[in-house]
Point group: C2
Chain length 94, copies 2
DNA sequence: CTCTGATTTCGACGACAATCGAAATGAACG
DNA sequence: CGTTCATTTCGATTGTCGTCGAAATCAGAG
């Protein structure tokens, strides 16, 4: 299965936990990894999902003190795939 | 993993073969299942992918003579998830 | 330097997904 | 009804995915 960049993004967003993460990051606020425990998965699983989103180019992580803050790479996604993120987020909110 | 309707659609579109099928159906033409052999997978695999797309509500299949014609359920998708299909198709074309 | 809190990596495991070939189904047609 | 063509289902295999707990890493505080 030859995975393209687009299918990788769609696949990354196609998991409920990851879609919830992206949805919560969509407000623009940067959030630490540890603030997602309410999603009901363990820390190691969360870390795995962050890695998938990072490798798909959906989020980026930069260390800030002892924690790591995650932000949505909205500009990059909007430039490369116009409207995609917005429609997914709008659909997820409804 | 509690799969929602949206994540099911995103996951369905997150496979290269299925995205290619949807892309080719986007012209509006209805195509028989058998006309996708150029994607490099067997008939049974094609049938499986059509089933996934059908169950996700992305396409519909109606028998026409001895063959089955597939069409994209564009109106339904556009109504439920405005802009989603268009942005995915535009991204896939670029 | 050690302790502490936050995150990642490491195996491991069960579930699911993509794929195939072969067999079954179904619909026209002689 | 039997043949033929198109599609689906079946059974099997192989690989990937989501998940966990435990161990490793890493950055700051004492």
């Amino acid at each position: 299965m030859i995975k393209t960049e687009l299918t990788e993004i769609l696949q990354a967003l196609g998991d409920p936990v990851r879609l919830a993460i992206v949805s919560e990051l969509a407000g623009g606020e940067t959030r630490a990894c540890g603030s997602f425990t309410h999603l009901g998965v363990s820390h190691s699983t969360l870390s795995h999902h962050f890695k998938v989103l990072r490798e798909a180019g959906v989020i980026e992580t930069h260390p800030e003190g002892s924690a790591r803050l995650n932000t949505l790479r909205r500009e990059r996604l909007d430039a490369r795939y116009p409207g995609l993120l917005d429609s997914v987020l709008a659909a997820g909110k409804a």
